[in-house]
Subunit: 396 residues, 2 copies
């Protein structure tokens, strides 16, 4: 089809908090011929991936790899650690916390549900109170970065409280891992689950679970009711020499993850955290310069995704639609109860300074086109100032 007018917006831009854009190196390696999953050449890739993963979790644990989405890794944690009728605490302040509660219900757990409302940041002191009032909770299920609201939770504090009450802590870090600071071993978190498609810069289809020895022992003592997601089966295969997978591994995705982890290694995990913090800081500066409010407590500074409240003088539901259909940018609006109320600007994974400039520029043009008085360039300028003040250059 030949267009009837020049269209400078037909170049599609992915700016969601997952799936995230792929580095060209990752796309390239996945286009190479498929390897047989039991071939020594693939075993070498698999070994590198398993060797590289613990750094991202800041842990010395076995990191178990499942052919699944992140939700599959969540389910693995529930099925391996909780038998029907066992008492646990489930924390939800958004869509993904609620997923924990749904999986726990499906498993028949006796779940104490703490749901203080969407957008609330969990106070570990409250968890202390709840665990005191509800003695006997054996496992606490929490979320690092609640993608639906942009809030990053104090999982370090939650894990400390849980440990004092004799409970294990399981953290959903699907959207946070590699973007928000997370130090699993230092912070004493028993299980961290994640997925390939966010800060790990790989397409969706790999679920991950970094599992402590204590958690593995608890799972082993409670067999039955699971096969595909059984931790014991996967850890046994991964500890072989060379390591293998109990089922056919998603070989192209694993090859992509290998390259993505190599890139994280080259950048250095601390630099990865710092880059995400800088991207987020610039985003917040841009949002503020446009006179918009951050969603949630302004002290809660997420490095994964920045959620902002949309102005009341426009139809908020039109913002993501206009960004996508007029300007070619796919970004996330609000989900469920936040539909039409917020916009979420992602900066998690393969994002650089000009991706932030692009997103803020798209936001400015969208607000203007929807009739909200907008000082075009003001948000972009504020973000530029943050990047300039950081004093970083390519050749550094």
């Amino acid at each position: 089809m030949t267009g009837s007018a020049p269209n400078p917006f037909n170049k599609k831009i992915l700016a969601t908090a997952g799936p995230t854009p792929l580095p060209p190196r990752v796309s390239s390696v996945m286009a190479e011929p498929v390897l047989y999953h039991r071939d020594p050449a693939f075993a070498a890739v698999y070994k590198r991936v398993l060797d590289r993963l613990p750094t991202v979790f800041q842990s010395s644990n076995d990191v178990l790899l499942f052919p699944s989405s992140g939700s599959g890794a969540l389910e693995s944690a529930v099925m391996n650690l909780v038998q029907p009728g066992q008492k646990v605490l489930g924390i939800a302040t958004g869509k993904f916390g609620e997923r924990w509660l749904q999986i726990l219900d499906a498993q028949g757990a006796d779940t104490v549900k703490y749901e203080p409302g969407w957008g609330v940041r969990i106070d570990p002191g409250e968890i202390d109170r709840i665990l005191t009032e509800n003695p006997g909770c054996e496992v606490v299920f929490a979320t690092l970065s609640e993608t639906s609201t942009g809030i990053v939770h104090d999982v370090k504090g939650i894990a400390e409280v849980a440990r004092r009450h004799g409970a294990m802590t399981v953290v959903d870090a699907v959207s946070g891992l590699g973007a928000a600071e997370l130090r699993q071993d230092d912070w004493g978190i028993d299980v961290v689950v994640s997925g390939s498609q966010k800060a790990l810069m790989t397409p969706p289809g790999i679920g991950l679970a970094s599992v402590s020895e204590a958690a593995l022992a608890r799972a082993e003592a409670q067999p039955g009711g699971r096969y595909y997601f059984d931790w014991g089966r996967t850890v046994k295969a991964q500890r072989k020499s060379p390591p293998s997978s109990p089922f056919t591994a998603p070989v192209t995705l694993v090859s992509g993850l290998d390259v993505a982890l190599e890139m994280i290694e080259e950048e250095g995990i601390e630099n990865v955290f710092a880059r995400h913090a800088l991207l987020a800081k610039a985003t917040r500066a841009g949002v503020a310069a446009l006179g918009l409010e951050l969603y949630g407590n302004p002290d809660e500074k997420s490095n994964v995704v920045t959620a902002l409240e949309l102005p009341a003088d426009i139809d908020g539901g039109l913002v993501p639609k206009t960004l996508r259909d007029r300007f070619g940018i796919t970004a996330n609006g609000g989900q469920d109860e936040l539909k039409g109320k917020i916009l979420r600007i992602a900066h998690c994974g393969y994002f650089g300074a000009f991706d932030i400039i692009t997103s803020i520029s798209g936001l400015e043009m969208t607000l203007d086109s929807l009739g909200h008085k907008t000082d075009l360039g003001a948000g972009v300028g504020a973000a530029q100032r943050v990047f300039l003040d950081a004093g970083i250059s390519v050749s550094q």
Copy 2:
């Protein structure tokens, strides 16, 4: 590294029964920029895939798509249809049949296990006898193509017998679907499960389950104990307009599957079956011309993979190793109790005449190099004769 001698074998050739080689069109589409899984552009791809899948199953069922390996789809069938303590029949004549038994054990089913030995082809009359002697089996678990032995089973006959006894039939068609004839609705099979990485010409990472209304109703009447693989959750999302996935879909793999299914549509499913039959016939002719025996009953003609008995005068364990390390061809030897005894030549998925010629040529050179007296070219010549006699040409 610069080689010290010319190496005509450094071009790697994948000749396994899964993962199988990818068509260039499939590789290309997966290297395009990632789509957001809730984007209308991806929803269109997802809808096309869901619309195209039933033809491959020869069914009008909903085909449920899971981000998982084929084993995940197997687990979904057990978890949705069988509650702990329910009586079922599990049939195993190889490694993948045994996987059914292991999953059923994990789920706590009361399983009647029929294991007449590896390589045996199931006689539906025997299933009739077993279901008579063991009344009350509610579900029968069978395998279409047992990859470990190359045997394709009479699942049509098994389903007929099961229906007479009031039991549902579930068929593992992970390696058979799209290669061996399977007509789910005509044959009255309630559930067929499969995966993306064999005749569907896509990398591993997608599990599929084609599920009858009766099977969906049975699952719905028995909730609990599952979340990720719950059929009700997935069917509900897939029946929305546009269809969606309850979890993040493996978007690159789904885009690849879309193109692979388009290729199957273009070729025509009956032609796909016929092509596999011809490739298999040529392979068997090549094997016979080399004086080698097919593994199992010679009347059992598999169109998925040809298993042959290795000659007794060489170390059979060296055959796959030599094929791979000297000649660059990755093919499957025997697994578990068949280790060192058989070689499996795959012809399932994106395979053409010269892939068969290559595999047989590699086999001839391997046998010769290991000291087995081999008439070089004899197997190739016999396969060529089959292809020529079929009278087919590109321009046809």
